[in-house]
Subunit: 127 residues, 4 copies
Amino acid sequence: MTWDFAPDRPIYLQLQELMKLNIVSGKYSPGEKLASVRDLSIEASVNPNTMQRALTELERDGLVQAQRTSGRYVTNDMEAIRNMKNELAMELIDSFFSKMNEIGYSKSETIEIISKAKEAGNKDGNS
Amino acid sequence: MTWDFAPDRPIYLQLQELMKLNIVSGKYSPGEKLASVRDLSIEASVNPNTMQRALTELERDGLVQAQRTSGRYVTNDMEAIRNMKNELAMELIDSFFSKMNEIGYSKSETIEIISKAKEAGNKDGNS
Amino acid sequence: MTWDFAPDRPIYLQLQELMKLNIVSGKYSPGEKLASVRDLSIEASVNPNTMQRALTELERDGLVQAQRTSGRYVTNDMEAIRNMKNELAMELIDSFFSKMNEIGYSKSETIEIISKAKEAGNKDGNS
Amino acid sequence: MTWDFAPDRPIYLQLQELMKLNIVSGKYSPGEKLASVRDLSIEASVNPNTMQRALTELERDGLVQAQRTSGRYVTNDMEAIRNMKNELAMELIDSFFSKMNEIGYSKSETIEIISKAKEAGNKDGNS
DNA sequence: GTGGTCTAGACCACT
DNA sequence: GTGGTCTAGACCACG
C-alpha cells in the first residue's frame, strides 16, 4: 500500500478508497483512533482539505466517526464494516465475471476454473 | 464492447486488446478474413496507421496472419488461441485474487465465496 | 426539557420561556409556591439576577405573583394561564402553517394532512 | 425568501435548504437549468466553493443533476421531488406535534385545534 | 490541540 | 464558458 496517487482520478477518492481498504481488511481496527486531519494530510502529502474531504465521505459511509474535539475514530459498528466489505467484494466479483465473460468464459466455467486454483501459489495471507 | 477509447492509454493498445478479446471469445472465428486496415480504421474512427500497428502486434502474438496480397486472417491455430485465452484468464484471476486479498479475503476464502455464486444472476452467456 | 441554554439568545429569555412552558403545560400547578430566586438560580446554574429578571417578566405576563414576604406563587388565574397557552399555541400554529407554505402546502392542504396523522405514532402524552 | 444567512449555521447548509425549498415548492421547475456556480455564488454573495458544496449536497439528494459542461439542472424525477417534499413535511409535522406537546396539547388535541383553523386568515396561496 | 467552515485563487477537462 | 478538483491559509467552537 504505497502512498502515491494516479493522476487521472481525484485524490480524495483514492484516499477514501485506501482508507476503506484499511478498515475493511482490518489494518485499522474498529474503534481505533485515527491521526488528526493535519497529520494524515502531511503523511499523505496532500492538502488538509483534501484529506478532510476523504474522511467526510468515509463518515457518510458510516466507517468513521468524528468526535468533535477529540479526533476521528474507526467505527465500532462491526456490522457496517462487514457490509462494506461484502459490498466491495460483490463489486469485484461482478467485475471479474464480466471480464471473464468478455474473453469467452461463462459464469459456470469461470467458477470451475477458480475452484481448481486451490493448488497453485499458496499466498494465502489474511490481509 | 463499445467503440470508444480511454484518453490516457495508447489507442493502438486498446484496439489490440479489443480485437484480442474478439478473437479469444470467438466473436472472430478462426480462419475468418478480417476487413482491410482501411475499412477497420474507418469503422473504429482511428488513423489507419494506428489500426495497422494494432494488427502488427496481433501478428506478433500469433493471433492474426497476413497473406501477402489477400489480406489478413484470424489464425487457424486453435492452440494459439486457447493459449492466449488462458493467459488472459490467468491475468484476470491473479488480479482478482490480489484485489480480494486487499479487502481481507484469503485465496481460499475467495474460492469459497465464488463457488457459492452459482445461484445468483444466471447471465451465463456462452460468449 | 433540559437545563442548558443556547449561547446565542439571552439566558433570561430562555428561562422565562421554560417556566412559561412549565406553567401552561401544568407541570407547575396554579397556586403552587415557587422556590426562592436563590434556589432556582442555583438549580439552573445561572446568576440570581438573571433568574430574577425572568421571574419579573413572568409577573408582567401575569403568570406569577409575588407575595411581598412569603415568596412567589404560580398564578391562580386559570383564565390567564389558558390565555397564555392559547397565545403560545397560536404562535406555533402560525409558524407551522408558514413553514408548510414554504415547501408548497397551502393552508387547507396542511390541515388535510394533519387530520390524517391520527393513526401514526400515538405518543399522546397529556402534558 | 431573502438572501441573508444566520451566523450560527453553516452557510452551505442554509443555501442547500433554501434551494431545496425552491425546488420542492415548485419555484424551480423540474428540468429547469440553474445558473452557473459562479453566478449563483455572486448572487448569494458567497464564495463559489461554498455554493458548489451546497449544490453537491443537493445532487446527493437527487434533486439536482450536473451535466459536465453544460451546467446544472433541477431533476426531472418528479418522484424524487415528491419524496423530498413529503420528508420535509414530516419533519415539520413531527416538530410541530412535539412543541405543542410541550405546552400541554396532546396529539389528538392538536389535530382538533388545527382542524378548526380553516375559517381564520385565508392566506391559502399555493406558494 | 481537534474538527468544521469559509474564502481566495488556481488548474484541468470538456465542448 | 462549464463543473470538478486542489491548494493555501484563515477563523471559529470546543475543551
